[in-house]
């Protein structure tokens, strides 16, 4: 398979996590000095593929992988990322892994510092050597110059603009003497357009020096701009592996997302034109899901979908509005303002939330189902309590709690031994139904559901989605649903907003073309940010 000139070839890579197939027969080669653009939606398998390449321990712990990796014509099997580094493969992560109080030089040479031996080394070992700062600086300056950028080696990372941090990381990788292949994971995601342009120039320079690059990005025009070859992953398969020549952004977007959608929007209830939830200039400081500036309106009786790639801020929106993370801006429900940063008031304000963090935020794992279902209603609204001595203190009303739990076990078809079973003993799908029951017990007018089908099987998925649809139709409950699965959003929502870089990139009807969604997710196009219901 691998020809003489190819540096790395992946041959028939397959990987499953306990039967759940994430990669299937992925094969492609990387030539010397070649830039490969690797694209795919979240969950398409990019991360797993890179983990396999780097020999991350998590792969071996979960049963290894099938297929083989050839580097320089020899089969390699790394057992730790350090082996991969020794073999000349460098990785630049999406999040900066830099020490903020260190200078560019100190970061570039981190743990590979030039040292001068002294007497103490003989007694206490190499780590007592004194750093040779002059040599370290020369090395750093050399690595920076190979990138073709201007960067002061003595500046502290904490005082650098974002773009320089990215260059510092890349410089750290190419400071290794034997580096042959660089993996850049979303390096441009945090950069401004001009910074990204400079980075792309640097990538070309490195490729010209014979260093191969695997460039992972969701900004498709950058891929087209810089890559020699494109590999598109979808649902664990390499669906396309083509030279970049003649390929358009639209093509890639279609390959990335392209699959048929089951179910149609015709089953949906009609929603009114009346604006129910109005969000203006919302920001939320949720780590890893920062929301920068988001405005949207949701109509009464609507199912409003929020999609987008992981880390772009879609999860931050419900978490911020429900007061779980620090937030600012304005929001109003039915013309009355929504108090931010106060979960108790929000719950009393006819809003409820089914969190994506089912086991952490959603459930009291060690408690019974009746407790779980009644808990929020009890805490927020004081229901299921019996006042004693004129309300001096209150006792739990076990009887109504049991009735409530039984009611939901029946209507949501929760598989369990009864209301006294503990939440942690249920399967993922049934746990999710308990979370829904807990939110429904509040009788909310507006329900936020976040990743309702994550980690549950296909059958349970359908029931969860059907339940949401039914509550929307029968009780007129307005629902804001956040999901990474576009297909799911398109099957249930009236309108879908796509979040990109903490902002709404556009709002589309579910019938819009798949490529449209793909372009919005890639930040290629900013749609009409209007009320295109």
């Amino acid at each position: 398979m691998a020809n003489e000139s190819s540096l790395l070839s992946l041959e028939g890579i397959s990987k499953d996590f306990y039967g759940n197939v994430v990669l299937e027969d992925v094969t492609f080669t990387v030539g010397r000095g070649e830039i490969i653009g690797l694209v795919g939606e979240n969950g398409a398998g990019k991360t797993t593929l890179m983990r396999i390449l780097f020999g991350m321990p998590v792969i071996a712990e979960t049963g290894g992988f099938k297929g083989r990796i050839m580097l320089d014509g020899k089969q390699v099997a790394f057992t730790s990322p350090f082996d991969a580094l020794d073999a000349g493969i460098g990785m630049v992560h999406q999040e900066f892994s830099l020490i903020p109080g260190f200078t560019a030089t100190e970061n570039i040479t981190l743990n590979r510092e030039s040292m001068k031996r002294n007497v103490a080394c003989d007694i206490f070992g190499e780590r007592m050597s004194v750093l040779d700062r002059a040599r370290m600086r020369t090395r750093a300056a050399k690595a920076i110059s190979r990138l073709g950028v201007k960067l002061d080696p003595d500046i502290l990372v904490s005082e650098m603009p974002v773009g320089h941090k990215q260059f510092t990381e890349i410089a750290r990788e190419i400071d290794r003497s034997n580096v042959k292949l660089l993996v850049l994971d979303e390096p441009t995601a945090v950069l401004t357009e001009t910074e990204a342009e400079v980075l792309i120039q640097s990538m070309r320079m490195l490729a010209a020096q014979g260093i191969s690059i695997i460039f992972i990005s969701h900004r498709l025009h950058e891929i087209i701009n810089v890559a020699d070859k494109i590999v598109v992953l979808r649902d664990g398969k390499a669906v396309k592996s083509v030279p970049v020549k003649g390929v358009s952004v639209h093509d890639i977007a279609t390959w990335m997302v392209g699959r048929e959608v089951k179910g149609s929007s015709s089953m949906l209830s009609a929603c009114s034109e009346k604006v129910f939830l109005k969000v203006d200039n919302l920001w939320v400081d949720m780590p890893g899901e920062t929301v920068r500036n988001v405005s949207f309106d949701v109509c009464e009786g609507e199912i409003f979908g929020i999609g987008g790639l992981a880390g772009q801020g879609k999860l931050g929106i419900p978490n911020g509005l429900m007061g779980l993370f620090p937030a600012g801006g304005n929001a109003s429900l039915d013309d009355s303002p929504v108090p931010l940063n106060d979960p108790h008031k929000v719950l009393n304000n006819h809003m409820a939330f089914v969190s994506e963090d089912r086991r952490g935020v959603g459930l009291l794992l060690d408690e019974t189902l009746e407790w779980n279902v009644a808990f929020t209603a009890m805490q927020a609204k004081g229901e299921h309590l019996i006042p004693v001595l004129g309300g001096l203190f209150k006792l739990r009303n076990e009887r109504t709690m049991k009735l409530l739990a039984e009611e939901y076990i029946k209507t949501l078809e929760i598989k369990c031994t009864g209301p006294k079973q503990r939440a942690k003993e249920l399967s993922g799908g049934n746990q999710q139904k308990i979370c829904l029951a807990k939110a429904f017990a509040l009788k909310p007018k507006l329900l936020f559901v976040s990743e309702p089908t994550r980690g549950i099987d296909v059958g349970a998925k359908a029931i969860v989605l059907e339940t949401l649809r039914r509550y929307n139709k029968e009780y007129g409950m307005t629902i804001v649903m956040v999901s990474s699965e576009l297909e799911e959003l398109r099957s249930i929502c009236h309108r879908i907003a796509i979040v990109d870089e903490g902002r709404i990139a556009g709002i589309l009807p579910p019938t819009a073309e798949i490529a449209e969604f793909g372009l919005l997710m890639s930040g290629e196009k900013t749609g009409k940010n209007g009320d295109a219901a």
Partner: protein, 379 residues
């Protein structure tokens, strides 16, 4: 920071508020105490020689991001065990101190290694864990002092033994080793008495710390102190390095406690180690160190300020309230209050920085208004 940045007096004060409060208290206390400058200064020199070494023990763990090493009490305990043996075997002077060091240092290495193991399992909660470890050590030490000594290990000297006939006395006179280091090389300059050898030891320690920061190990500690995750992914042995920081700190605390006690001349067998911990923590914080940043300068400033207050406060209390007890009470009270204040301020600064970072979420226009709101909230 930009060197051209203007010096802002208000910001300087707010950044060094602990030091400023302490300085103000001392300046107020001095005239009330009616002590002469010469008296205060000669006392300061004596006390500096006595306690500076102890405070240096805290620098490395702060550098390695483990906060204030309250578990330095373990090292101090090891030093005291060494001294108990030196007194019991009646080894005099500097030889006694060297014997105490030879017994204390291996013990400190073991205790520091143990402590480091525990702290690695209590990541992010090092300070409170270290604090409790100190209490745990108290129990072990009391068992050793009250039962093991005199039962498994015979006590040879009557002055060491309790009146009841077993265990080590509550207060131990260190007559044989008193001034063992201080009195070897002395210089009398006017009214001032300068223990040159002790100063030499402290100077050597300063040079060691300056040199240590430049070594690979010191560099790794700084890296780990800022980000353990990044350091680990760069291949630095994080856990091992953290243990080394604690071991070195424990050894320094052991030697520091021996120097402290040879100057004092007597030892509260079951209490001195704990006082050493509180004193060192208060001193380094008063000197302007934070839970995440400490320099040699912080140690010097802190030791001088804390002792200035210790010297003047009881006398000032006596003059104002006609009771020396009130003054003594005040200086103890301030000691604990300063630790609490510094910890609260550290948490507050972290929160303020998080708020400032948050203000940048939406770009410059919003940042300015958020900063204005922040300023309003502060006022």
């Amino acid at each position: 920071m930009n060197p051209l940045k203007k010096f802002e007096p208000l910001k300087f004060i707010s950044d060094n508020i602990v030091t400023v409060i302490f300085l103000a208290l001392t300046i107020i206390a001095i005239p009330f105490s009616r002590l002469s400058g010469i008296y205060i200064l000669s006392n300061l020199i004596d006390r500096f020689a006595r306690s500076a070494f102890l405070v240096f023990a805290l620098i490395l763990p702060i550098m390695a991001g483990m906060g204030i090493n309250f578990a330095m009490v373990l090292g101090a305990t090891a030093g005291q065990i060494g001294l108990i043996f030196a007194i019991d075997y009646n080894v005099m002077g500097i030889q006694g101190l060297l014997l105490a060091t030879c017994i204390g240092v291996p013990l400190s290495i073991f205790l520091g290694w143990f402590c480091g193991q525990v702290l690695n399992r209590a990541r992010g909660r090092e300070m409170v864990t270290g604090f409790i470890l100190g209490y745990f050590m108290d129990g072990v030490y009391q068992f050793f002092g009250l039962y093991v000594m005199g039962w498994l290990i015979p006590i040879r000297t009557r002055e060491v033994m309790q009146v009841t006939g077993s265990g080590v006395r509550n207060t131990l006179a260190l007559g044989p080793v008193r001034g063992g280091l201080d009195n070897i090389l002395n210089l009398q300059v006017g009214p001032f008495h300068l223990p040159l050898l002790t100063f030499g030891v402290i100077a050597f320690l300063c040079l060691f710390i300056i040199w240590f920061r430049k070594t690979k190990l010191g560099h790794d500690m700084r890296a780990i102190g800022q980000d353990q995750g990044v350091s680990h992914s760069a291949g630095i042995a994080v856990d091992r390095t953290r243990i080394m920081a604690i071991v070195i700190s424990t050894i320094l605390a052991c030697i520091g406690q021996i120097i402290y006690l040879q100057n004092m001349g007597n030892m509260g067998t079951y209490t001195s180690q704990r006082q050493a911990g509180y004193f060192a923590a208060a001193a380094i914080l008063v000197g302007g160190a934070t839970v995440s940043k400490a320099t040699i300068m912080n140690v010097f400033v802190g030791v001088f300020l804390v002792h200035s207050l210790y010297i003047t406060m009881p006398i000032a209390g006596k003059e104002i309230f006609k009771s020396a007890m009130v003054g003594q009470y005040m200086s103890d009270f301030i000691n604990y209050a300063i630790i609490a204040l510094a910890l609260v301020l550290h948490a507050w600064r972290n929160k303020r920085n998080a708020d400032l970072a948050r203000a940048g979420l939406r770009g410059h226009a919003d940042k300015d208004s958020a900063l204005a709101a922040q300023a309003g909230a502060v006022q």
